[in-house]
Symmetry: C2
Subunit: 236 residues, 2 copies
């Protein structure tokens, strides 16, 4: 709730703790782990969003949370790229994100939940998610702090339709209440800066910036890493 309130730069629905805020993203193309992050204009406010995701088997319409966990086939890491300059207007129009959400990038390895051992619990991943910008740690919040577990998110998503095998469901940007664990997206840090001092100091991503996202268990990387460099993109 805290992150959403800050990051939206727009009123938060009163129902946020009862009804998942879930959007339908593009699935026609995804970025490889080392693909460039395309920057068309600085004003677009290019931002990372580090999150975990699950890939589902075919999930029948009306599946309840208790049963939904059985349809989680794979766990993945996602950079759910956002263009912060475009999102507030899209939220205001009510039809959801389109221009504000270019393709997402995935870490190279998808794993079955059992590979996480004890860290897969309550349909959540109980491990820190690390993000780095230009070689400096940007955040390592615990990915298990989701208001709704993946089981509840699946129940919500399949309420009026089957979900095809291969459906990808993201956790939303990882963010922790309290602690000094940093961030998984720039806009959250900027909003904290505004609250603290009146001005956002951390810029959005610019040409040449490098973003790394990875997760470790017992000192070893689980998914490999997302490692993307921002590249100026000339549209045609």
């Amino acid at each position: 709730v805290r992150l959403v309130r800050k990051a939206r730069n727009s009123p938060v629905p009163e129902t946020i703790t009862q009804i998942p805020l879930m959007y339908q993203g593009a699935s026609d193309s995804f970025l490889a782990p080392t693909d460039p992050l395309n920057l068309i204009e600085d004003a677009h406010g290019l931002d990372l969003e580090a999150e975990v995701g699950v890939i589902l088997g075919r999930t029948p319409c009306g599946t309840k949370a208790k049963k939904a966990r059985d349809y989680v086939r794979l766990v993945v890491l996602i950079n759910d790229v956002s263009l912060r300059g475009l999102i507030p207007d899209e939220l205001a129009r009510g039809f959801g994100f389109l221009q504000g959400k270019p393709p997402s990038a995935f870490a190279p390895v998808a794993i079955t939940p059992d590979e996480l051992h004890d860290a897969w619990k309550d349909s959540r991943v109980h491990l820190p998610l690390n993000s780095e910008i230009n070689g400096e740690l940007f955040g390592n919040p615990d990915a298990s702090q989701m208001h709704f577990g993946f089981d509840e998110l699946i129940e919500f998503a399949c309420y009026t339709r089957d979900l095809a095998a291969g459906t990808i469901l993201g956790s939303g940007t990882v963010s922790n209440e309290g602690g000094n664990v940093g961030y998984s997206c720039i806009v959250e840090k900027r909003m904290e800066e505004i609250i603290a001092s009146g001005t956002a100091k951390t810029p959005f991503l610019k040409e040449g910036d490098q973003v790394r996202i990875w997760m470790e268990q017992a000192g070893k990387s689980i998914f490999g890493e997302i490692n993307q460099t921002v590249k100026k993109f000339i549209c045609r």
Copy 2:
């Protein structure tokens, strides 16, 4: 604008004539032309939305309207099914439609634009789109009355990303200003009834109702027909 204002049951963005109201729909599954229309609960307010759509070749990020028309490969008819009982809350939350938009159905034949001869003009289809409910004509408005042509819709959709080959873009429900041409969705008729008499009289679709959608040129059906019967659906 008129239809959107009525059908949303929610304030219309001020930018509606400058910025397309476009949402990102599910693409994991589509309905065949004669598949049943699943009704889970009457309170969901099952509605047809008859519209034309285009299927694109790969369209590069940043393509402008003038060039965009070259990427239209096929024209199709769509029943962009809506659940009116769920949509107002989804609009209010700002993240777009998810539960309110179960899979869409398509007419059996997709055609190349040249098959429409003079009826394909200004990136619009200049022909009436016929809808029938239970054997009675429900509407036959002119499908060319789009505020934005497909060329402009493509420019909007590819502003920050490539569109993969096979991308489907819908016109939005066909609706005409003026004339006595009926409707392409029930909610528009209901809103006119409310404006005229204070009460909506036309019910949303119920078990056993039959919906037909088709388009003719020189007395011949172009796309074949969408012909769906509403079936009570028991979720698991």
